[in-house]
Structures are given as structure tokens and as C-alpha cells.
């Protein structure tokens, strides 16, 4: 009898992988920008948070089970060791593949081997992952070789197993904790609830917990897929182990918060606080308490639900620490694009397919393999029955699988390529956002003036001339209408703040400092502004001459005296050939038709009209 559940599950995996393949093409052809929602404020997203941070942690089952079975001799978990190590191998392979997608220049990934920077935690992680992947390959080799004719090689590898296992545990310790070290340098990004100087240790302990949960979940999934009898003795033992490990982790994590005096932040009702509560409940507290109850440990459903809950919780922890909690600092929202999810899920699907293939053909789980082979055998021996059309068309066994799966894969690939986002044509904007280019309309209501900024800038000497008009280094001159300071059109010295001067010059005793000893307190016998403000006012320049006066000019005077002399000169200049330039209508609304003639040469953009 064919296992329909398994067939559908594999089909689904092939669809997911096909969609991911389409996104992969897009990502390498068009770049990260098109394929992800990443940005300069969120340069790491789902691919680092889930594929790398989560992936490495998920694969922690490998070293945990290696230690439990081969160092501590807990033989009852022997059945879990091989699947755990195979998962770890595939998991690290997935991390490496995920990195190829996330790296901007993946073809330079080998640089980590050649160019060294021992001060970078990522350098250490890269080396450990490379070495550990090699170690895991060596650990998996006996499984592959066991039932092959290469028995000599098989025995060689089994003899090598113990030192290799120890080396694997050593390497895992390092990089599981180094993933935490990577976040140590960003106290300004990682939210205080996740930031701690003990992050490396926390990551290591949580990896052990997650490893145990993952081994349980994996065993549950294969049991369900292949409709096997659950290995309850092993599972409940692991659940008990998980309970202890989670209790240690919870104490460590909460104790660390207490030590830093951050425990109250958990309950302040903020978004990170609530996220933290969800995470710690899912990952540790709920599974810890329930796994401690013997009745739960005896129930297959209880175990798979709690293991899944814990696994999700710890993956959430990695995503929180490496990304989600950083939203707090950047205040920039990031939600992964569907293309990012697609790649992440596609890598997982590919791993699952490879895992199932190895599970079905090599003695990962010896009993399981026998069952699969027995089923295969009976199917081959079975008498031919009446074959419906579909069976004739698709064939049987692997032929059918190959046809259906490859069709699903290609269909998903084609669908993905159709719906994948394409790059949009780049929209160029002005480089300089200071009002540099257009024609401005400035001034109030009917006295509005049209002003060609660029033309004036060119006339006055280009880029060095800004300070000639944007005088006093008055902040915001580029965006501030002149009337902000020159409030009264006709009143001279209206920008002169008398009170501010008295205050700055220490009260009423200071009158004489400007008005002169024994002189009447009037405008006329007083100092010129420029006598005191030698630097703050604009440098002497040919355009603005009005500050050589005893008072600041009125708005009207300021504008007129800056503009008119030059306009008149230019109007008389035959080479310029703008005879009406010196007349009122050249700048102002209204005026005679001939005066308007100047303005019509420079069309006023519509959107500028309303911006007075």
C-alpha cells in the first residue's frame, strides 16, 4: 500500500523548492534590493535571523546528541543520534546555502579562508562552521557506508568516530556562543531585554535546549510521515532531559535580567516587553513545566506539540535578538518580502527532501529502513492488478514520483518567475535638496516675486556665493522666506531685537555701549551694526551693501537694495538684451505688458505657485 501522506508531503516540498528556485534566479540576476525588503537600516533580515542564526541553533541537536550518546553513554538515545547528526549536517549545509543568498558578493565567500581578521566574531563563526561542516560530513559517512561493499573504509571511519565527535562538540561550543558574541558590539541596536554581556553563554545554553527539542520534533515528524510506532521510551526520556535543560536556561536568562535590573522592562506593556514574554513562554517556561508532568511525557501528541512550541520559541529568540528587537533602535519597520520567505522555506524543503532520501536508502534509523525496504519489496512482489489510466500514464514507484515531483517543481518555478517582482526603472531626484534649481515665488501675497535661483547663483559666482545672500549664517535661509526676519515691509531696523541686545549686554547700564556716553537714546547717534558684528554679519561683498548702515533694513529696502542696482545695470547692458529687467513688473506680479515680457521668458512651474 502506498503512503499517500508521504507522497503529498514530498510534493509540497518540491513545490516550495521550485518557487525558491525562481526567486533564486531573480536574486542573483537583479540583486538583493529586488529580492528582499532589506534596507540600510535593516541590513540583516529573515535570511540571517532564520536561516543562519536559527539554522545553526536548530542543528544543535547534532552535537547535543553526540555528547549524550557517545560521551555520557546514554544508550537509550542511540536511535536519535544518527538522525540528529544527519540533521545537523543538512542544517549546516542549509546555513551555508542560505549565506550564499544573503551575501552581497557570494562568489567571494572563500575570502574568509584567505583574509583573516581574528577580531571579528563572524570570522570565528565562519571558520567554525566550515570546520564543523567537514566534521559532520565525517560523522555522517559511516551511516552512508554501512551497507555498502566498502566495509574497510566503513570500519576506518567508525574508528575515527570518537575523536571526531569530541572535535565536533568543541567546535559547536565555540560558534554557538559566537553567534551571541556577534551581537555584543551593538548595544545601541539590540534591545536591552536581549542585550547582555552574557549573550554568548545564553546562546550556548539555549542551543542545547533547542537541540533536544529539535531531536524530539524530528523523531515525531518521521514517525508521523512513515506511520511508524513512536519510540516513546526515548521521547519521554528526552522530554525529561529537556525539562531540566529548560529550567536551567530559564533561571539563567531571567537571573541575568535580574542581575542587570531589567526585569521590570518585561512587564512595562511595550512591544518588546510583550515579545519577550511570548518568546520566553513558548521557548522555555511552558514546555519546561509541562514536560515535568509524567502524563504529558507519556503522550505522543503532548510531546510533539511542546517540542514544536519550544523550537518555534527559540527560533523566535534568534530572530528577536538579531533583528526584530533592533526595530526599537532604528524605528524603521521591516517585514520580510514573500521572496525572502520563499528562499528560507525552499532551503528547508530541500533539506527535508535530502533527509527523507537518505532516511529511505541508508541506515539512519535501522528499523525504519527495514520497514521501508519491506514495503518496497512487497510492492515489487505484488501481483499485477488492473491498472487505471493514471497509473499507466504515470508509471509506478519511482517513475511516478519522478514525473509528478519534477512537474510540480517546474510548475512552481514558472509560477515564481511570473509573479516575482522585477526592478522598476530608477527614478532620479535632485541631488541637492537646497532650493537650488527652480524658479521660486517668494514674498507675501500680491507683492510676490518670481526669482530664478540658479541664474542668480551663476551670476554671483557659483557655488561659493551662497553666503552672499544667505547672510548672517541665518539658519534655514534656504528654506526661510526673508519675511521671517524682516517682518515689517517698511519699518527700518525691524529685525533688530532691542530687548535681546540689552539682555546680552547686561541690562540698562549698557545703553551707552551703543548709543554713546551722554547721547540721546535714539537711533541716529548709535553704532553701526557692523562695528560689533564684525564676523557674524556677512563678509563685505558686492551684492549686499546695506549693512554698512546704522540700522537693519526693512524688508522692502533689503530686497530692493540687493536687487535693483544690479537689475538696472543689467537692463542697460545691451549684451544682456533685457531692457525691462529694471522695472517693477520684471519681478512682481502685475505691471505692464512689456514689463511682463521678461517673466514670460521663464515659465513658472505650477506647483511653485501655491507655495508662498
Amino acid at each position: 500500500m502506498e503512503n499517500k501522506r508521504l507522497f503529498l508531503f514530498k510534493g509540497l516540498m518540491w513545490i516550495v523548492a521550485g518557487l525558491a528556485a525562481a526567486v533564486a534566479i531573480l536574486r542573483f540576476a537583479l540583486g538583493l534590493g529586488t529580492a528582499t525588503a532589506l534596507s540600510d537600516t535593516t541590513p540583516w533580515g529573515l535570511w540571517i535571523g532564520f536561516d543562519v542564526m536559527g539554522g545553526v541553533a536548530l542543528a544543535a541537536g547534532g552535537f547535543v546528541m553526540a555528547a549524550v550518546v557517545h560521551i555520557f553513554h546514554r544508550d537509550r538515545y542511540h536511535a536519535a543520534a544518527r538522525p540528529a547528526i544527519l540533521t545537523a549536517f543538512l542544517g549546516y549545509g542549509a546555513v551555508a546555502v542560505g549565506l550564499l543568498f544573503d551575501l552581497g558578493l557570494p562568489w567571494n565567500i572563500w575570502h574568509a579562508m584567505v583574509y583573516w581578521n581574528i577580531r571579528s566574531p563572524l570570522f570565528e563563526v565562519a571558520w567554525c562552521v566550515m570546520l564543523y561542516l567537514t566534521v559532520l560530513a565525517l560523522e555522517v559517512t559511516p551511516t552512508i557506508l554501512e551497507r555498502t561493499p566498502f566495509q574497510k573504509t566503513y570500519r576506518f571511519f567508525t574508528r575515527l568516530a570518537l575523536p571526531i565527535m569530541v572535535l565536533g562538540i568543541m567546535l559547536s561550543t565555540l560558534h554557538q556562543s559566537s553567534l551571541g558574541t556577534m551581537l555584543l558590539i551593538m548595544p545601541f541596536r539590540v534591545h536591552p531585554l536581549w542585550y547582555s554581556h552574557l549573550l554568548p553563554e545564553l546562546f550556548f545554553v539555549s542551543a542545547i535546549c533547542l537541540g533536544i527539542s529539535m531531536v524530539m520534533l524530528e523523531s515525531c515528524v518521521t514517525t508521523w510521515l512513515y506511520k511508524r510506532k513512536p519510540e516513546m521510551e526515548m521521547l519521554s526520556g528526552l522530554a525529561r532531559l529537556a525539562s531540566v535543560a529548560l529550567a536551567f536556561y530559564s533561571l539563567f536568562k531571567l537571573g541575568d535580567l535580574l542581575r542587570q535590573g531589567k526585569l521590570s522592562m518585561v512587564f512595562d506593556g511595550s512591544w518588546p516587553g510583550n515579545l519577550f514574554i511570548v518568546e520566553i513562554l513558548m521557548s522555555a517556561l511552558v514546555p519546561m513545566v509541562l514536560f515535568a508532568i509524567p502524563a504529558v511525557r507519556r503522550s505522543f501528541r503532548g510531546i510533539w506539540i511542546l517540542a514544536a512550541c519550544s523550537v518555534l520559541g527559540f527560533v523566535l529568540d534568534r530572530i528577536n535578538a538579531s533583528g526584530l528587537s533592533q526595530v526599537w533602535a532604528t524605528r524603521q519597520f521591516y517585514f520580510p518580502a514573500w521572496t525572502e520567505f520563499s528562499i528560507s522555506l525552499g532551503i528547508v524543503a530541500a533539506c527535508v527532501l535530502v533527509f527523507l532520501f537518505i532516511e529511505e536508502h541508508f541506515p539512519v534509523d535501522p528499523h525504519g529502513l527495514e520497514a521501508v525496504e519491506a514495503a518496497r519489496h512487497t510492492q515489487a512482489k505484488a501481483l499485477p492488478t488492473f491498472a487505471p489510466f493514471v497509473q499507466v500514464w504515470l508509471g509506478e514507484g519511482w517513475r511516478k514520483a519522478a514525473k509528478v515531483y519534477s512537474f510540480l517543481f517546474v510548475a512552481a518555478l514558472a509560477f515564481g518567475l511570473t509573479v516575482a517582482p522585477k526592478t522598476e526603472p530608477a527614478v532620479k531626484t535632485h541631488a541637492v535638496r537646497a532650493v537650488g534649481a527652480g524658479i521660486l515665488s517668494m514674498g507675501p501675497g500680491p507683492r510676490r516675486v518670481y526669482f530664478d535661483h540658479k541664474k542668480h547663483q551663476d551670476e554671483a559666482g557659483g557655488t561659493k556665493s551662497c553666503a552672499l545672500c544667505h547672510h548672517l549664517h541665518q539658519k534655514g535661509d534656504v528654506g526661510t522666506p526673508c519675511v521671517i526676519c524682516h517682518k515689517n515691509m517698511f519699518l527700518a531696523s525691524d529685525i533688530f531685537n532691542h530687548d535681546a541686545h540689552i539682555a546680552a549686554l547686561h541690562g540698562n547700564a549698557s545703553c551707552a555701549k551703543c548709543h554713546g556716553e551722554g547721547q540721546p537714546l535714539q537711533v541716529t547717534p548709535s553704532k553701526k551694526c557692523s562695528e560689533c558684528h564684525t564676523k557674524d554679519l556677512m563678509a563685505l561683498n558686492p551684492v549686499v551693501t546695506t549693512f554698512d548702515k546704522k540700522w537693519a533694513p526693512s524688508y522692502k529696502d533689503a530686497m530692493h537694495k540687493m536687487c535693483i542696482p544690479c537689475h538696472v545695470t543689467k537692463a542697460a547692458d545691451r549684451k544682456v538684451n533685457l531692457p525691462n529687467l529694471g522695472r517693477c513688473g520684471a519681478c512682481h506680479d502685475g505691471g505692464t505688458a512689456s514689463e511682463k515680457a521678461y517673466k514670460t521668458e521663464v515659465p513658472v512651474p505650477q506647483e511653485e505657485e501655491g507655495r508662498t
Binding site: A112, V166, I185, A467, G476, T480
Partner: protein
């Protein structure tokens, strides 16, 4: 080229004309227009094609943001391959030939300076390099942005000179400035200093609340230094545990064999 080059920007003098931006784009061959906006990218106006920018603050203050060229840069310390480099003279530069594109530097920078060419299939990290190649070759004697400033709001010299000038200005006009030089000591000191009449804490993530005078690379180094010992220690612990447990099992088996006169060798 001078040792320890440094830029001092006086916010009270900036009129926001952005001539520095134009000059920077020109000398570094950056695209004239700005890149198309990308959600989450432009918090401060910097992007891969805009290495310095002028940030408008309330009450018409203008603050020019650029790479700070830290004395002990976090971006250099985290780069696994050493593509970000602190030159002997001081500016922090980037070597695309080495980079793998992990973007760790972008996260590690407390000021959010390195930016990425998201729309390229062959992207680089881009940031201000203090015109290092041109200064080194003697083509220019000060960075392009400084040369372009019409109000001398941003000036250039050695770090000691700039610090002395900043202290002189603070002392000369105490009421004009907030009595602080931004970049003097934060994260171990930077080579771009600021004087201002407003707080410039907003230049760093989280308003710099989590930043101290301690250089950031020290935080990771404290955890990385004992790594070789942890590695060997773990091996030692695991090895000896194995030996002890194995030996105990063997002894127990022998004992059982002695008592029962030949038990099973379960442990093997």
C-alpha cells in the same frame, strides 16, 4: 598627507547649501541624482550614492552627517575578511576586492554610516573615505566637502589642531555653543568633530544613550579573547568525561562478571 586628518564642523555656521554634497559626489564619481527611495533606507538622507548629507533640525539648524572615521572603528573590527580598513594615517576605507558582502559593518556602526547598493547585482558597501586616495596622492590638500564649504562651517586639519580650535571657539563664545565637542571621546574618539548650539546626540542610533567612551570593539574582544582556551578546555572536559565514564562502565562490568561469573558486555 597629514597624520590623523580630522574635520571640524561648526553647526552654527552651516547654511545648508549642500555644496559639500555636490563636491563629494563629484570627486567620488557618485551618481548625480539620488538613488530611488527605498523604504527604510533614508533616515538621514545618506545612501550609497550620497556619502555626506545635511540634516535639517528644528529651528533651522543644519547638521552635516558623514563617516566619523573613529579611532577604533567598529566596522573595521567586525569585518571577517578585513575589507574595511583603518589606514595608518587615520581615514577608514573599504576594499571591494576583499568584501564578501555580509553587511556586518552596517550593523556594527553606531552612527549608521555604511550604506549598500541594494539595486546592484554586484553591490558594494559605500561610505565616506575622507577623500583618502586624492589626499594621499596630493591631488587635493583637504577633502572635497571642506573645500566646497562657502562659510567655512566645516574645516580640516590634524585632530590635535581641530580639537584646539574647537576648545578655543567654546571658550571664546561660551553662550553661543553647547559646551561639548561631539566626537571628542565617544566610542574612543572620532576624527570628525562637531560644535553646535543644539544637541547632536541624534547622529547616533538610540541618541547615543548606549554609547560610552569605551571603544565598541572592546566589547567583542572581551568575549573572543578566551576562545582558544574555551576550545581546548571543552575538548579536555569531554575527553576526560568519556574516559571516566568508559572506565567506570568497564569496572562495573568486570565486577558484575566477577560476581555472577561472566555477565554480558553490555557497554561495548
Amino acid at each position: 598627507m597629514i597624520e590623523n586628518p580630522c574635520i571640524l564642523t561648526d553647526v552654527t555656521k552651516c547654511i545648508g547649501c549642500e555644496q559639500c554634497v555636490t563636491a563629494c559626489k563629484k570627486i567620488n564619481g557618485l551618481p548625480e541624482g539620488d538613488a530611488p527611495p527605498r523604504p527604510g533606507n533614508s533616515v538621514d538622507g545618506l545612501d550609497a550614492g550620497r556619502w555626506t548629507t545635511v540634516i535639517r533640525q528644528p529651528d533651522n539648524h543644519f547638521v552635516r552627517k558623514q563617516c566619523r572615521h573613529c579611532a577604533e572603528p567598529a566596522c573595521v573590527s567586525v569585518c571577517p575578511v578585513g575589507a574595511m580598513q583603518k589606514t595608518p594615517e587615520g581615514p577608514v576605507i573599504y576594499d571591494k576586492g576583499i568584501c564578501m558582502g555580509c553587511r556586518y559593518c552596517m550593523l556594527a556602526c553606531p552612527y549608521g554610516i555604511p550604506h549598500y547598493e541594494w539595486d546592484s547585482a554586484n553591490p558594494s558597501v559605500r561610505k565616506c573615505i575622507l577623500c583618502y586616495p586624492s589626499l594621499k596622492s596630493g591631488k587635493i590638500d583637504k577633502p572635497a566637502c571642506v573645500g566646497a564649504c562657502p562659510t567655512n562651517a566645516t574645516i580640516f586639519g590634524t585632530r590635535d589642531e581641530m580639537l584646539a580650535e574647537a576648545h578655543r571657539r567654546l571658550a571664546a563664545e561660551p553662550s553661543k555653543y553647547v559646551q561639548k565637542i561631539w566626537g571628542e571621546s565617544q566610542v574612543g574618539g572620532t576624527s570628525v568633530l562637531y560644535l553646535a548650539d543644539i544637541s547632536l546626540d541624534f547622529l547616533a542610533w538610540g541618541d547615543g544613550k548606549e554609547l560610552t567612551d569605551q571603544p565598541l570593539p572592546k566589547l567583542t574582544w572581551a568575549a573572543l579573547k578566551p576562545v582558544p582556551f574555551e576550545f581546548l578546555g571543552m575538548g579536555l572536559v569531554m575527553g576526560s568525561l568519556y574516559w571516566i565514564i568508559e572506565r567506570r562502565k568497564k569496572l562495573m562490568a568486570e565486577k558484575a562478571a566477577g560476581v555472577a561469573g561472566g555477565g554480558d558486555d553490555h557497554g561495548k
